[in-house]
């Protein structure tokens, strides 16, 4: 590794030179212009806002998410819905965070919007506001079991209809569950395998 001994003088900044560590703690972003505009348009919807590593995250009320999406698209020019996903916090109330990423071409900026959802609680779908959210919401339903109210096509997408369980929940075993569907079609004709309460289900821990 003789090359590493080259003098660190010319060229762009090297890792050693920049002593000032980048900010690694989140700070409050309630006074951010986008957040203020959102709060002005939809009072009582914005619950919290923070900024970390230059990324703004706004937490909103669950039942207001479709209105937030509409507002961001129409009034703030966040026209591109990058992604919809969720995080399972298992022991927290509400259990899930549904996470949306939006991008604005005119601002060249991203915005993350989050809302909490308890187990089984439906989240208003934004697939009618952003067509791009359609499959992402289906994936979120499939993987986490968060229903999206008003979704035009609320089917599973990566697993099959009738599959029991939602794989990305923290209490779903990594090894998977034995669905038995392929082997015993006469026993589980729906193609889904045994339900979690079925005594015949093979225990996987």
């Amino acid at each position: 590794m003789a090359e590493e001994k080259a003098p660190p003088s010319e060229g762009a900044p090297r890792s050693g030179e920049a002593k000032a560590k980048p900010r690694l703690e989140a700070r409050d972003a309630s006074s951010h212009p986008w957040v203020e505009a959102m709060r002005a348009a939809l009072p009582d919807t914005v619950l919290a806002a923070k900024e970390f590593a230059g990324q703004v995250t706004v937490t909103v009320a669950r039942d207001g998410i479709a209105r937030v999406a509409r507002h961001l698209k129409d009034s703030q020019d966040f026209r591109y819905c990058v992604d919809v996903t969720a995080v399972d916090w298992k022991d927290r109330q509400p259990r899930f965070d549904v996470v949306y990423h939006f991008y604005s071409f005119s601002k060249n900026a991203r915005l993350r919007v989050k809302c909490g959802a308890a187990d089984g609680e439906a989240v208003p779908s934004i697939a009618t506001v952003f067509l791009a959210a359609n499959w992402s919401e289906r994936e979120t339903w499939d993987m986490f079991g968060i229903p999206f109210a008003g979704h035009p096509d609320p089917r599973r997408i990566l697993t099959w209809e009738g599959f029991h369980g939602h794989p990305l929940r923290k209490d779903f075993p990594v090894e998977g569950i034995d669905t038995g569907a392929a082997i015993y079609p006469e026993e589980w004709p729906e193609g889904g395998g045994p339900s979690p309460d079925d005594p015949n289900r093979k225990a996987v821990s």
Binding site: M1, A2, E3, E4, A6, P8, E10, G11, A12, P13, R14, S15, G16, A18, K21, P22, R23, L24, E25, A26, F52, A53, Q55, T57, R79, Y80, C81, V82, D83, T85, V87, D88, V99, H101, F105, N108, R110, R112, F130, L131, A132, A133, N134, W135, S136, E139, M143, I157, L158, T159, W160, P167, L168, F172, V174, G176
Partner: protein, 407 residues
């Protein structure tokens, strides 16, 4: 060569083609960029039939099943059915430490593993606040662009074969093999590269690698000319691709389409320029765009992108200096309990990772925003009203990799 109307052969072909297509099938290229389908008088009753396309169809490039509703050869509705390759990658990320996640990313978009590694590492680096040494940045950009070249070459070869152009495949794969040789020499693998680490790179370049790559890259534009000679003015190629799957830039944004698909519709948006990562901001390259947003334009955009990649690699090679290849990363990676999203311009579009940390050495949640998955979503929109044989062109043109769609 121009005729009495001052049109070249190619332009005359195009004009004739649209005139005939408009009368034949009721599909015209409109000024607005959106295909209109006007009803043509039918002799027989419309008989809808359901047809399974795939999952074992060779032109689906993997295991994609499309449930088609067809009237004769015309597609009324196409419903993609995905998930055959679902391996629970996101679940696996949660069970392993941060560096152990990188090899899983290789298996998502398996024809462009380097860009997957890159996006994954960038996300974790953002969470850690690590700075990447200059040499590592340059090598990462070289690897990315080589990967873009090889991914586009695979696309060029296979989507040519889908439409009956068998010859370009052999030329495209010849160069792709050479690119894979460079990867093999660098990291020992040809497809599942695992060629980046959080904070930098696993290895420095081998002796002579740069010189051989410079030689290969100098030679490449002439090879790209060869592919273009086979396809760009090829009458059959044009007839199979012009006016197929037209989509406007507004609709692309609405559907979340990114990458060459978006640029072929006229929006000059590329993450390497819009939100530069590594050292893309100091490199000189153009973002090729076209305005018609059809399959032919997407082909042109990809070929032009290959030429730009050649330019980028050349500039990076010229800037390479000896130096460190790994930033100051702690031995055990335990980011603060926060969340970040980072994305790069992969050969297919915006590839992003969303990472939630809870302060331990494993990601609490690692989500991938795969361009193929989101782009595939628009296939029913693109396919509506076209013929089944055009569907093959459309699956090729959005350039999906099913490993990434299903993860």
């Amino acid at each position: 060569m121009t005729d009495e109307r001052g049109l070249t052969d190619a332009e005359r072909d195009e004009a004739e083609y649209f005139a005939r297509r408009a009368t034949d099938s009721g599909v015209a290229r409109p000024a607005s960029g959106v295909v209109e389908h006007h009803e043509s008088p039918t002799l027989f009753d419309v008989q809808e039939m359901e047809l399974n396309f795939g999952p074992q169809h060779p032109s689906t490039h993997g295991v994609l099943r499309l449930v088609l509703k067809v009237d004769g050869e015309k597609i009324i509705e196409a419903k993609p059915d995905v998930g055959y390759l679902h391996r629970g990658t996101e679940k696996l990320f949660e069970t392993e430490t941060y560096p152990m996640g990188i090899p899983h990313t290789d298996r998502m978009d398996y024809v462009a593993a380097a860009t997957n590694n890159h996006a994954f590492c960038l996300t974790v680096e953002k969470l850690l606040g690590v700075e990447i040494p200059r040499r590592a940045q340059l090598v990462r950009v070289i690897l990315d662009e080589l990967q873009r070249l090889s991914s586009h070459l695979v696309w060029l070869g296979t989507s040519g074969i889908d439409l009956g152009a068998v010859t370009p495949f052999w030329y495209a794969f010849r160069e792709r093999e050479q690119i894979l040789d460079f990867f093999e020499e660098y990291c020992g693998a040809r497809l599942t590269l695992n060629c980046m680490r959080i904070g930098g790179l696993p290895f420095d370049l081998t002796p002579g690698w740069v010189e051989r790559l410079a030689e290969f890259i100098d030679d490449l534009p002439a090879r790209i000319d060869d592919y273009e000679q086979l396809l760009t003015d090829n009458r059959i190629w044009k007839k199979r691709t012009i006016g197929i799957g037209v989509i406007s830039a507004e609709e692309c944004v609405e559907w979340g389409l990114t990458g060459p698909v978006l640029r072929a519709s006229g929006l000059e948006w590329d993450l390497r320029r819009a939100q530069p990562y590594e050292c893309y901001d100091e490199l000189d390259f153009a973002i090729p765009t076209r305005s018609n947003g059809d399959t032919y334009d997407r082909y042109i955009v990809r070929v032009q992108e290959m030429r730009q990649s050649v330019r980028i690699v050349k500039q990076c090679l010229a800037r390479l200096e000896p130096g460190e290849i790994r930033g100051k990363v702690p031995r055990v990676i335990k980011p603060v309990a926060e969340e970040t999203y980072a994305s790069i311009e992969s050969p297919k579009g915006e590839l992003g990772f969303y990472c939630v940390s809870n302060g331990t050495n494993r990601p609490y949640r690692m989500h991938c925003r795969p361009p193929s998955f989101i782009n595939l979503q628009a296939l029913p929109r693109l396919a509506r009203g076209h013929l089944i044989s055009d569907l093959v062109a459309l699956i090729g043109t959005i350039d999906i990799v099913l490993g990434e769609v299903d993860r």
